[in-house]
C-alpha cells in the first residue's frame, strides 16, 4: 500500500511545492466559501480581483555542485537507454511472457529482502525487521525460492523497502550533493554510499548464492547481471522524454530527492 501512496503523493508533492512557491499571500481574508459552483467564473468583474503574484521558488534549488557533469552523464544515460537498454528490454519482453517475467520479478525482490531486513534492524524498526524476515522465510519456502510471493498474496505482509541510504537518512545524514550515476541514474552522495554498502552487505550474506555468482566475471555472472538489470528496467516505468518538458532534468532531480525523503520518513 505504501507504494501506491507514493505513486499518488509524488506528483502531489511537486504540485504543492510549486504552488507554494509560485504564489504569495497577497490577499486579506475574504469570503472563504467553498468553490462549489462556477458562477464567479461567469462574472466578468471577477478578474478585476485576480492579479499575478511573485515570490521565491527556492525549493527548486537542489544542492547540485556537479551539475554540468551530472547533466552530461544524464544525456549519456538517455542515449544508453535509447540504443542499448530499451532495445534489450523489447527483446526480453518478446522472449519472456508476462507470467515468466513476474516470476523473475518476485525472485529478485526476494533476494532484495536481505537489505530490507538488516536496514530495518539498523533503524530499530523491530516490527518491520520481523515482517521482512517472515516474508523471506515464506517466499523462499512456500514461494519456491522466491519465484512466487505468497507473503503478499496470502499472508498480506506488504513489502517494505529499506536500503542503507535510508538508514543513513534515518539517523540524520543529509542527502549531500546530487549525483547522476552512469546507467544507474539519479542519486546523491548519501544514497550512493548506501548502494555500495548494500552491495557489499548482500554479497556477504550471499543469499541463495546469487550475489556471489552475479559478481563473477564469467558467462553465468554476466548473464545474471543482465537479467537483474533487465528485470529492473522492466519494472521501472520511466522513459526519457516522457515528460515532454525542457525541464526534465530539474523535475527528475527534484522528484528523486522528494521520493527519497518520503522513503526515509516512512
Amino acid at each position: 500500500m505504501i507504494t501506491y501512496f507514493r505513486q499518488l503523493l509524488l506528483p502531489l508533492a511537486m504540485i504543492a511545492s510549486v504552488w507554494l512557491a509560485a504564489t504569495s499571500p497577497a490577499y486579506a481574508a475574504a469570503d472563504v466559501s467553498e468553490m462549489g459552483d462556477i458562477s464567479e467564473l461567469r462574472d466578468p468583474q471577477y478578474y478585476v480581483d485576480i492579479s499575478a503574484q511573485k515570490s521565491s521558488l527556492d525549493f527548486l534549488d537542489v544542492y547540485d555542485p556537479l551539475e554540468p557533469m551530472n547533466k552530461r552523464i544524464y544525456a549519456f544515460n538517455r542515449l544508453f537507454d535509447q540504443y542499448v537498454f530499451l532495445p534489450a528490454l523489447s527483446a526480453y519482453r518478446f522472449v519472456f511472457p508476462q507470467f515468466v517475467r513476474n516470476r523473475f520479478q518476485d525472485f529478485w525482490a526476494n533476494i532484495g529482502e536481505i537489505p530490507n531486513i538488516y536496514n530495518s534492524l539498523f533503524q530499530l524498526k523491530i516490527e518491520r525487521t520481523a515482517s521482512s524476515s517472515w516474508r523471506l522465510v515464506i517466499n523462499s519456502t512456500v514461494g519456491i525460492l522466491g519465484l512466487w510471493d505468497p507473503a503478499t498474496e496470502w499472508f498480506e505482509i506488504d513489502r517494505a523497502k529499506e536500503d542503507f541510504g535510508q538508514t543513513l537518512g534515518h539517523w540524520g545524514v543529509g542527502a549531500g550533493p546530487f549525483l547522476v550515476l552512469p546507467i544507474f541514474g539519479p542519486s546523491n552522495l548519501r544514497d550512493t554510499t548506501g548502494l555500495v554498502v548494500d552491495y557489499v552487505g548482500e554479497k556477504e550474506v550471499d543469499f541463495l548464492g546469487v550475489r556471489e555468482a552475479e559478481s563473477n566475471d564469467d558467462t553465468g555472472g554476466w548473464l545474471l547481471k543482465g537479467f537483474d538489470a533487465l528485470n529492473q528496467r522492466d519494472i521501472n516505468q520511466f522513459r526519457y522524454g516522457m515528460l515532454g518538458s525542457p525541464f526534465e532534468y530539474n523535475k527528475v532531480r527534484y522528484l528523486f530527492n522528494q521520493q527519497r525523503e518520503l522513503l526515509i520518513a516512512d
Binding site: 500500500m1 505513486q7 468553490m35 462556477i38 471577477y46 492579479s51 499575478a52 535509447q82 525542457p246 532534468y249
Partner: protein, 432 residues
C-alpha cells in the same frame, strides 16, 4: 373487472418509460472541479460487450524541418514527432484525435479516445497538442502555440504526412477529426482549413469541451491559484500537501488497512469523511495548468529567441547550469503573460493594426462562425458547468450549432468524457 387494472398498469408503465427516457443524466459528480480532476467512476464508464485488445504503435513522422539551429530539440528527445496509430484489418473510417493543452499523443485522455474509437471499429491516429514542447520543436512553423489558425496549419501538415505514411497500410472509408479541450477548438479550425485546402476532406468533426473564447478559458484556468489564495490567505503549499497526506492516511486507517489503491479509491475517498475540500481540488487544476504554461512559455522563448526568459545573448544548452534559473522564471509566467508578452507582439508584426481584441476574435470560435453554422458535419459536446467557459459561451454554441450542440448539465471540464452516455453520444455522432 381486470380491464381497468390493465389500463392503469399500461399507463403506469408508459409513464415510467417516459420518465426514464426523458430523464436523467446520471453522471455522478456534481461539482465541476471535482469532476474535472476525478473523471468518471469505473462503474459508470462505457462498457464494451466484447472488448478487443487494442494494438497501437508509435508512428514517427518526419516533417523535414531544419532542426540544426534548435539545440533544444535534440536536448531531451524533443525532435521526434510521434503519433499513436491503431489500425483495423479491413476497410474502416479513420479518425484523428488531437490532445488538449499540454497533453501528449499518449496521455491518458488521448489513449482513452483511441481505445474507444478503435473498439468502435475505426483506424485511429493521435496527435500531441500544439502546446506540447515536442510538437513545438518538431512540427510548429510559428513556435507560438495557442494561435489556433496557425496551429491548424501545422496540425494539417502532420495529418497529411501521416496519411501519406499509412495510406498503403490501411483502407480508409471515411475521415473524421476530434479533440478535447484546446484540441477541440483545434479540430474545428482544422476542419475549417480543410474546406479550403480540400486535401483530406473530413466527413465529420466533433469538438469535445472546447474553449469558445480562448482568452476566457485561459483566464479561468490562470485564476484558480490566486482565487485559492484569496480564500485561504494563510495557506501554504506545504500545509496543503500535509493535509492531503493526513486525510489519505486517516482514510486508509479507518478502512482497516485492508484497502488496496485501485481505480475506485479516489472516488471512495471523496465520498468518505476524509474527502478533499473542493478548494484543494480546484487549486490542483490551476497548478497543473501552471506547469504546462511554464514549459510552453520557455520552449516558445527558446525557439523564437524573444529574450524574455533566456537573455538574448545566451543560448539554450542542455548541459547549461542555468536551467534552474530559467525554470524559475518560466514558472512565474501565467498563460496570459505568455499571450501578452510573446504572442501579441509576434502577431502584430505580421498583422499590423490588429488590436488585442482582434487577435482574440481571430483565434476563437467566432472566427469560423459561418463554417460552424452552415456545416452540418460539425458538432460539439460539452457541459453546462465546464470551468473553461465564460458568460454566454454555452448560448453561443447553441445558437451557432443548433441541434449539433450537445450540452450536458454536469461533468466539469472533460470529466464526463468517458461516462457511458457521453461515449454513446460520440459514437452515435460519427456512426450516423
Amino acid at each position: 373487472m381486470s380491464y381497468p387494472h390493465t389500463l392503469i398498469a399500461t399507463l403506469l408503465v408508459a409513464l415510467l418509460g417516459w420518465t426514464t427516457s426523458a430523464s436523467a443524466y446520471d453522471y455522478p459528480i456534481k461539482n465541476p472541479y471535482e469532476a474535472t480532476v476525478l473523471g468518471t467512476p469505473p462503474a459508470d464508464k462505457y462498457q464494451w460487450e466484447e472488448p478487443r485488445k487494442v494494438k497501437k504503435k508509435v508512428l514517427t513522422v518526419n516533417l523535414e524541418k531544419d532542426l540544426s539551429d534548435i539545440t533544444l530539440a535534440g536536448a531531451y528527445g524533443l525532435a521526434d514527432m510521434k503519433l499513436l496509430y491503431a489500425k483495423q484489418k479491413g476497410p474502416a473510417p479513420l479518425i484523428f484525435v488531437i490532445a488538449g493543452t499540454g497533453a501528449a499523443y499518449n496521455s491518458p485522455k488521448v489513449t482513452f479516445l483511441l481505445d474507444t474509437f478503435y473498439q468502435a471499429g475505426y483506424h485511429v491516429i493521435t496527435i500531441s497538442s500544439p502546446t506540447k514542447p515536442p510538437f513545438m520543436a518538431a512540427a510548429s512553423s510559428t513556435h507560438m502555440p495557442g494561435l489556433t489558425n496557425y496551429d491548424a496549419e501545422d496540425l494539417y501538415k502532420v495529418m497529411t504526412v501521416a496519411l501519406d505514411k499509412v495510406k498503403d497500410d490501411i483502407e480508409i472509408t471515411k475521415k473524421y477529426v476530434t479533440g478535447y479541450s484546446l484540441g477541440g477548438i483545434d479540430s474545428a479550425f482544422v476542419g475549417y482549413l480543410d474546406t479550403q485546402r480540400k486535401e483530406i476532406n473530413f466527413d465529420k468533426v466533433l469538438m469535445i469541451n472546447p474553449p469558445v473564447n480562448l482568452y476566457t478559458s485561459v483566464s479561468n484556468l490562470d485564476s484558480l491559484i490566486p482565487a485559492y489564495r484569496k480564500r485561504h490567505p494563510d495557506a501554504t503549499g506545504e500545509k496543503l500537501f500535509a493535509d492531503v497526506f493526513e486525510r489519505l492516511g486517516r482514510y486508509f486507517n479507518e478502512s482497516g488497512g485492508g484497502v488496496k489503491f485501485g481505480p475506485e479509491t479516489l472516488f471512495e475517498i471523496q465520498k468518505s469523511d476524509q474527502a478533499l475540500p473542493m478548494d484543494d481540488v480546484a487549486v490542483l487544476i490551476g497548478v497543473s495548468f501552471l506547469f504546462s504554461s511554464a514549459d510552453l512559455a520557455f520552449t516558445s522563448d527558446a525557439l523564437n529567441h524573444t529574450g524574455w526568459i533566456i537573455p538574448a545573448d545566451e543560448h539554450y544548452s542542455p548541459v547549461s547550469s542555468q536551467s534552474t534559473y530559467w525554470y524559475k522564471r518560466s514558472l512565474r509566467w501565467r498563460f496570459l503573460d505568455y499571450f501578452e508578452k510573446m504572442v501579441i507582439p509576434w502577431w502584430q508584426e505580421r498583422h499590423p493594426g490588429d488590436t488585442k481584441e482582434d487577435i482574440i476574435q481571430k483565434v476563437s470560435l467566432f472566427a469560423i462562425e459561418d463554417y460552424l453554422r452552415n456545416n452540418t458535419s460539425v458538432g460539439v459536446m460539452t457541459n453546462q458547468d465546464d470551468i473553461i467557459l465564460g458568460p454566454g459561451d454555452i448560448e453561443y454554441l447553441q445558437s451557432t450549432l443548433g441541434n449539433r450542440a450537445k450540452i450536458y448539465p454536469s461533468g466539469g471540464h472533460c470529466g464526463n468524457m468517458d461516462y457511458k452516455d457521453n461515449v454513446a453520444y460520440m459514437l452515435d455522432f460519427f456512426n450516423n
